[in-house]
């Protein structure tokens, strides 16, 4: 055998080895083991019915299986191996992956005594969310829901009253229906969120509120996770978290990265800045069913009294995007020019509208009165940055036109309770995006309906668009809804901001979170290159 033949054989061996070497996505990992530490600013108990909170859902979607996950905007199978949709788009038949087991070694399923996840578990989980009217099941999906039925152990039939064009939208739909075990829900009751049990790629180990959540790899998952452990570290002090990220104490900052830091991390070759993919808006909601907010002129005055675009640019830095509405640029329903038409800075117009309404400064103290009494409007906001800065900016803008705005800053729970109770005032709002977001906010029984945002024409437009499978006309319906929302509510807009998360580059095969956090799927399996750490 001459040298040439040896080299050819050697090359063949190398090529064959490489072609047979399984990719990480097949459950084999270039490097196994290690801990992936994720930094977040807040964390709630992990009950999928109540945890309306992005970062908490990152943990839930790794502990619990979902019927499907969203990857790059597209649905990929998880607990459902595949699914069929009837021609009229109203019947979904989900084929459950056989052999998926509940996590064991816990109070519910002792080691080696687990059972298979079945179609009945899926039906139980869907009805658990549907029956609980305060759960986070999106209102429009709830409105379309007819039934969920297990036709056998591995088949679920979901029937809707009409087609759901946005059932895969990541901000709503079944992406929030984590599959739970009835035994665990009944055993733990209200404490289930502190002791979550699922069938996902990682098992729950411990939860120290306001500190950390520890998960370990589920060896019985249908794909072997590359990682041994995932830790969610709660770091409310964001500047400290940014330092920890650079030092490698956390591997990925999964919450919103401040604008000033985004610019810095973009220049850091050891880090990757990941765009969440959907710009979210910051705006004000008002008690539109109570005076003086029930008069469109007052709402218009509030919208024009402040320089929302400049405030947002100052507070969001390079993540700021000019605009208004729920849908940002590049998102279905986006209407260009909406900000300039309805929310431009015009304090003179704001003052003339207030004068027209009889809200004037009659005693000369610099503050306007309504019906002879000082008009002092509470502004509700949550207590983490940059919310208090938006409040300060709004208070100052109010002062410029003689409107006294009183800050009422509290924790997010108190803030949500006030909104649910319909307490009179203005509310700082942030988040929601895309078609699902538009529906969730402004649709029937939407997130802010308790404040009086009830308009049948908007409901109809959104209902029609949510069931319209034709993308072009759906876009037109969404834009019509967005424009009408601006025209009748004048909800004071500040603009959008892009959510950027940042990872250290030694975290491999990882593309960030999109409500669901996909660490182990058919497409990829996150691993840590310890040599680069």
């Amino acid at each position: 055998m001459n040298l040439k033949t040896v080299l050819i054989y050697a090359a063949l061996v190398v090529v064959l080895s490489l072609s047979l070497a399984p990719a990480a996505a097949d459950g084999h990992c270039p490097q196994e083991g290690g801990t992936f530490t994720i930094g977040v600013d807040t964390f709630l108990p992990m009950d999928p019915n109540t945890a309306a909170h992005d970062w908490t859902f990152y943990a839930i979607t790794n502990i619990n299986s979902m019927l499907f996950r969203i990857e790059s905007g597209q649905p990929v199978g998880d607990l459902a191996e595949s699914w069929d949709i009837s021609e009229d788009g109203t019947v979904y038949t989900w084929h459950i992956r056989p052999g998926m087991m509940w996590h064991d070694g816990n109070e519910i399923f002792p080691e080696g005594e687990s059972r298979e996840v079945t179609a009945h578990d899926v039906v139980y989980s869907i009805y658990r969310q549907y029956d609980d009217e305060s759960s986070i099941m999106a209102a429009d999906l709830r409105n379309l829901f007819v039934s969920a039925e297990a036709t056998d152990d591995h088949t679920v039939v979901l029937t809707l009253s009409g087609p759901d064009a946005i059932i895969y939208d990541k901000a709503r739909g079944l992406t929030f229906t984590a599959i739970v075990a009835q035994e665990a829900i009944e055993h733990y009751g209200d404490d289930y969120g502190l002791n979550p049990l699922g069938s996902g790629p990682f098992e729950f180990v411990s939860y120290s509120p306001d500190e950390e959540v520890v998960l370990r790899a589920n060896e019985d998952y249908y794909i072997d996770p590359c990682l041994d452990e995932v830790i969610f570290r709660v770091m409310p002090d964001v500047p400290a978290a940014m330092i920890a990220l650079e030092a490698g104490d956390i591997d990925w900052w999964g919450a919103v990265t401040p604008g000033d830091d985004v610019g810095r991390f973009l220049d850091n070759e050891d880090m990757t800045v990941i765009n969440f993919g959907c710009p979210v808006a910051t705006r004000l909601y008002m008690s539109v069913d109570k005076p003086p907010f029930d008069d469109v002129r007052f709402r218009k005055a509030l919208s024009h009294m402040k320089d929302g675009n400049a405030i947002n640019a100052a507070l969001r830095g390079p993540t700021h995007v000019k605009g208004a509405g729920t849908a940002g640029p590049g998102v279905a329903g986006y209407v260009e020019g909406l900000y300039d038409e309805y929310h431009s800075y015009d304090p003179e117009l704001a003052m003339s509208l207030l004068d027209e309404l009889g809200i004037v400064d009659s005693d000369g103290d610099g503050w306007r009165e309504m019906d002879g009494e000082l008009l002092e409007i509470p502004m509700f906001a949550w207590n983490s940055d940059p919310a208090p800065d938006y409040v300060a900016a709004t208070v100052d803008a109010g002062a410029q036109v003689g409107l006294k705005i009183r800050p009422e800053i509290a924790d997010p729970g108190t803030n949500n309770a006030r909104r649910n109770d319909g307490e009179w005032g203005i509310y700082l709002g942030q988040g929601w995006c895309g078609e699902g977001g538009t529906n969730a906010l402004w649709g029937r029984n939407g997130w802010i309906s308790t404040l009086g945002y009830v308009d049948e024409e908007i409901f109809t437009l959104l209902d029609q668009s949510a069931q319209n499978l034709d993308e072009e006309s759906r876009e037109a319906q969404l834009q019509a809804a967005t424009t009408r929302i601006a025209a009748i509510y004048f909800e004071p807009a500040f603009g959008f901001f892009n959510i950027f998360t940042v990872k250290n580059n030694y975290v491999k095969d990882f593309f960030g979170g999109e409500w669901t956090l996909n660490l182990v799927t058919d497409d990829h399996n996150v691993w840590i290159n310890e040599d680069e750490r």
């Binding site: 500047p239 810095r264 400049a310 100052a314 207590n383 940059p386 208090p388 800065d389 208070v395 800053i409």
Partner: protein
């Protein structure tokens, strides 16, 4: 002829020399001889004047936003730069003195008044009254005082008024415990027993004999409590439990500045130094008062 020794010191009034000085005079002389005390007084005076005349000396309106001028570094126009809303940080620092000093003085005044009154009552009358007051003191002191204040503000809602109320509520116990101990000892002294024997009323004894004796210690403690209240208020405001936006207050300024720590460190340093200087000045004064008012510490 024998030399008239008095002529050697003709300008000295012998009667004046041999007359014993009053306690207050000695204390005052001791106090003004203390360099640190004078420095503390001078700095505090500047701060108080700045707080009173903030409207006149601030170069800008501390609440006026300017979005074309955000996060500016220190310059001739803005001595310590501008914040994330374009507000002049130096003007906010001056107005912050007003809020911080007001908190310190009001909290200290409240806790001193309530604490001393209850301490005197508990110590002088004893019995059930003493038992009730001191058990209340024990209960409050069984919690870390700052943590208790945080809990109170969290329950009643974050605001400047609630912050002062919470601090006042937790700090009076320090005065009560100290004063009660002193009164227990004082009421057994011969002159108090004598006063009682000649028919002096409780009211007269408390005002003529007890309070003057506890006064020096209370003054010292009160001065330290001003500093402590300023620090505690800054801590609570830093946590978002005190002054609400857009109020200029040093603790909340520190909290706001932490986001900009990397690009504008001066925004954190300035309120931090302001708090430090104020607390240090008050502590210097407190130390000097203690030295002056406690005969065992003189010289």
């Amino acid at each position: 002829m024998a030399e008239n020794i008095f002529e050697l010191t003709p300008d000295v009034d012998i009667a004046e020399e041999i007359r014993p000085k009053s306690f207050s005079l000695i204390a005052f002389q001791q106090f003004i001889r203390n360099g640190r005390a004078l420095l503390g007084m001078a700095v505090l005076l500047v701060l108080v004047l700045a707080a009173i005349f903030a409207d006149q000396i601030s170069p800008y309106d501390p609440y006026k936003t300017n979005y074309a001028n955000v996060k500016q570094p220190p310059s001739g126009e803005h001595f310590i730069g501008t914040d994330e809303l374009g507000r002049d940080s130096f003007s906010r620092l001056i107005y912050g003195a007003r809020v911080s000093l007001m908190i310190g003085v009001l909290v200290s005044a409240f806790s001193t008044t309530v604490g001393v009154a209850l301490g005197v009552v508990a110590g002088f009358f004893g019995g059930t009254v003493d038992m009730v007051i001191m058990r209340l003191v024990d209960i409050i002191m069984s919690f870390p005082l700052l943590v208790l204040a945080i809990a109170l503000v969290a329950v009643f809602g974050p605001s400047l008024n609630n912050l002062m109320a919470a601090l006042g509520f937790v700090y009076w116990v320090v005065f009560t415990r100290l004063v009660r101990g002193m009164v227990l000892s004082l009421r057994e002294t011969e002159y108090i027993v004598g006063a009682k024997a000649i028919g002096a009323t409780d009211f007269a004894i408390i005002f003529n004999h007890i309070l003057p004796n506890v006064f020096p210690v209370v003054v010292v403690l009160a001065s330290f409590s001003v500093a402590e209240a300023i620090l505690a208020a800054a801590a609570l405001s830093y946590l978002g439990l005190g002054a609400q936006p857009p109020t200029a207050e040093w603790g909340s300024m520190l909290s706001n500045a932490k986001e900009l720590m990397r690009i504008l460190p001066v925004m954190s340093i300035a309120p931090g130094v302001a708090i430090m200087i104020t607390v240090l000045s008050i502590n210097f004064i407190g130390d000097a008062l203690r030295d002056a008012l406690d005969p065992t510490l003189r010289n």
